[in-house]
């Protein structure tokens, strides 16, 4: 019942995850990782951008600490999804661990903006949204891994799919004027740190720089935000 009601809400994710999952599977197989590895990764991690970046860690020297830190950084945004979902997921009982486990970008975008219809149990409704999304992601990446083993084509440049994904998210955020200052802070701090610390060591300094700049300018940022929201500007 809750599954039937939840399904229509997940259709956009079905198309999105099939596409991104296939690209991921093909990319993994082009680096020598078969369907087993790809499915294991999609089942356990269930975080697209982190999984794409993990391919870098699988194809360079073994560096678990770096892998850990970059995963934390990439997924730091989940902290804010969690904070937004504290209330909704507060009393979901035995389903709660899985709901939190599956709180990826796409799941969050649905559950934060959708209230369960009155005749459905809300916890099971959110559970099935999460489960369906998880299933699409695993199946999509499996399909990609399978395709990658059957068809061989030149995959050079396919990893640009991740860059494209972030650029598209960036544009989406840029359209809202309020978001532009933090976005600029992120880009400028990162570029400066990239120049100073080099391409292998700039992530942590960038994160620190971003935090410092955002903290120092918080009064100004907050004030401007409120002004914009109230339509004074």
């Amino acid at each position: 019942m809750a599954l039937k009601v939840a399904f229509p809400y997940t259709i956009p994710v079905l198309t999105g995850f099939t596409f991104l999952g296939i690209a991921y599977g093909i990319l993994m197989s082009s680096k020598g990782y078969g369907a087993g590895w790809t499915v294991l990764m999609s089942l356990m991690v269930f975080a697209g951008s982190a999984q794409y970046i993990t391919i870098n860690f699988l194809t360079t020297i073994f560096n678990p600490i770096n892998a850990f830190l970059i995963t934390l950084m990439i997924n730091a945004r989940h902290l804010f999804y969690g904070i937004s979902m504290l209330d909704k997921y507060n009393d979901s009982g035995k389903l709660k661990p899985y709901l939190i486990f599956g709180l990826c970008d796409e799941t969050f975008s649905i559950v934060c903006s959708t209230e369960a219809p009155k005749d459905v149990d809300k916890d099971w409704f959110y559970f099935f949204i999460t489960l369906l999304n998880h299933a699409y992601w695993v199946l999509g990446s499996f399909l990609g891994a399978w395709l990658g083993s059957k068809i061989s084509f030149n995959t050079k440049g396919l990893d640009f799919v991740l860059t494209a994904l972030f650029v598209v998210i960036f544009i989406g955020q840029w359209k809202n004027k309020e978001n532009r200052k933090p976005a600029i802070v992120g880009v400028v701090c990162s570029i400066i740190c990239l120049i100073i610390f080099g391409q292998d060591n700039f992530i942590i300094p960038s994160m620190a720089a971003i935090l410092i700049v955002l903290t120092i300018w918080r009064k100004e940022f907050i004030k401007k935000d409120i002004l914009t929201k109230e339509g004074i500007q």
């Binding site: 690209a23 850990f68 939190i100 998210i169 992530i203």
Partner: protein
């Protein structure tokens, strides 16, 4: 495969652990009560945008402007994505077309 199977499993576990920390931490930290800390709320508002900026730079970190192809494939593909995304506002189309354009550029144009 560059890593051994054991190393690969370790990396997968570590990435899983890292991801789960970011997903579970808020629920552990703010168990029961709502987050009333204005600083955390402020970070919650601004950090997602700054992070995506950082990730874009991270993805482009290996672009070298001094050697051929001077970053042209990346620049052209990104401009196409921007135009396409403002025009059609279709996430998948923008990502798909941008990636294909980039692949064509690095495989056939800037070889």
């Amino acid at each position: 495969m560059t890593l051994t199977s054991t190393q690969t499993i370790l990396i997968i576990c570590i990435v899983t652990l890292g991801t789960m920390i970011t997903r579970f931490l808020p629920f552990i930290l703010f168990k029961g009560n709502k987050s009333n800390n204005t600083y955390i709320k402020y970070l919650g508002q601004v950090l997602p945008y700054a992070t995506i900026g950082l990730l874009v730079v991270y993805c482009l970190r290996n672009v070298n402007f001094k050697t051929p192809s001077y970053g042209f494939p990346e620049a052209i593909a990104i401009v196409c994505i921007i135009i396409l995304h403002y025009w059609k506002e279709n996430t998948l189309l923008s990502i798909g077309a941008g990636t294909v354009i980039y692949m064509i550029l690095v495989q056939f144009v800037f070889v």
